[in-house]
């Protein structure tokens, strides 16, 4: 489908544009963080809009787990044309009273064109920041405040960790 490719290209350019303006002498970790924050907040706004548009007509999202399942199925299919590979919960009531979910994708579409293995693992977080924001934005529209982080062990598999903030 043409529109999937358009999004991939746009995303690649977004990342490239942000990193192209780095000051040459020793950018430092502050600049990196700023860029990641920009990407994440863009993803957040898109996620908010998607969270409004995608769940149509049914109010079946009553539990947190339902919302997470919706993310893995409907949201992933709408944006990346495939479903998330696995969703695991990791509630450790003693360490942190919040709900933790681990979403795993064994061939993440934005990373699959880059490499297959350990090459470019350090560059991968830049390409995951937007998607982390997307997840956080959709969750926030559906009423769940959360913190989403991503990690890559070997391309193109990646995992997103969602920690729900319960006040």
């Amino acid at each position: 489908m043409v529109d999937a490719v358009l999004f991939e290209f746009l995303h690649t350019e977004m990342v490239a544009e942000l990193w192209a303006h780095e000051a040459d002498p020793d950018p430092g970790p502050g600049e990196q963080k700023m860029n990641l924050l920009v990407l994440e907040s863009m993803g957040f706004r898109v996620g908010q809009a998607l969270g409004e548009r995608l769940p149509r007509e049914t109010l079946a999202l009553r539990e947190e787990l339902d919302v997470l399942k919706f993310l893995c199925k409907d949201l992933w299919v709408a944006v990346f044309q495939k479903q998330m590979d696995s969703l695991r919960t990791n509630h450790q009531a003693l360490l942190c009273p919040q709900g933790t979910y681990v979403l795993q994708d064994s061939s993440f579409p934005l990373l699959v064109r880059m490499a297959s293995g350990l090459q470019y693992v350090e560059e991968a977080p830049k390409f995951l920041a937007f998607t982390c924001g997307l997840l956080r934005g959709t969750l926030s529209t559906l009423g769940i405040k959360s913190l989403v982080t991503a990690s890559v062990a070997a391309l193109p598999a990646c995992r997103f960790q969602v920690v729900v903030q319960r006040s």
Binding site: E52, R53, T58, R62, G143
Partner: protein, 139 residues
Amino acid sequence: MAVCVAVIAKENYPLYIRSVPTENELKFHYMVHTSLDVVDEKISAMGKALVDQRELYLGLLYPTEDYKVYGYVTNSKVKFVMVVDSSNPALRDNEIRSMFRKLHNSYTDVMCNPFYNPGDRIQSRAFDSMVTSMMIQVC
């Protein structure tokens, strides 16, 4: 046709409220405000019942002698409240449902607008014109 249309955010403050200007607008604002309690009651009642699917359309919230108030809630807990004139007998349930569906679609379009910050008052002209089309009295 609707006499007053309101869009209420998740935190229960109005994002958009518009009524037919010939009447006392404050009265409609009060009606919408009191209907929020009924909406909350309906939502929590639905949550407790062991129903697999809940509907977004809440139906008639409460009737008064001149007006009827209808409600609709989205998945993001944004509520739409509509006050219609009781004297119009021809307004059936499906017409109300289709009006709410149009409202929901227009609200989704407003949300997707990158110039709109979620939580602000809705100032979109497209949304305004859609609401006007629902409020014009057909003579």
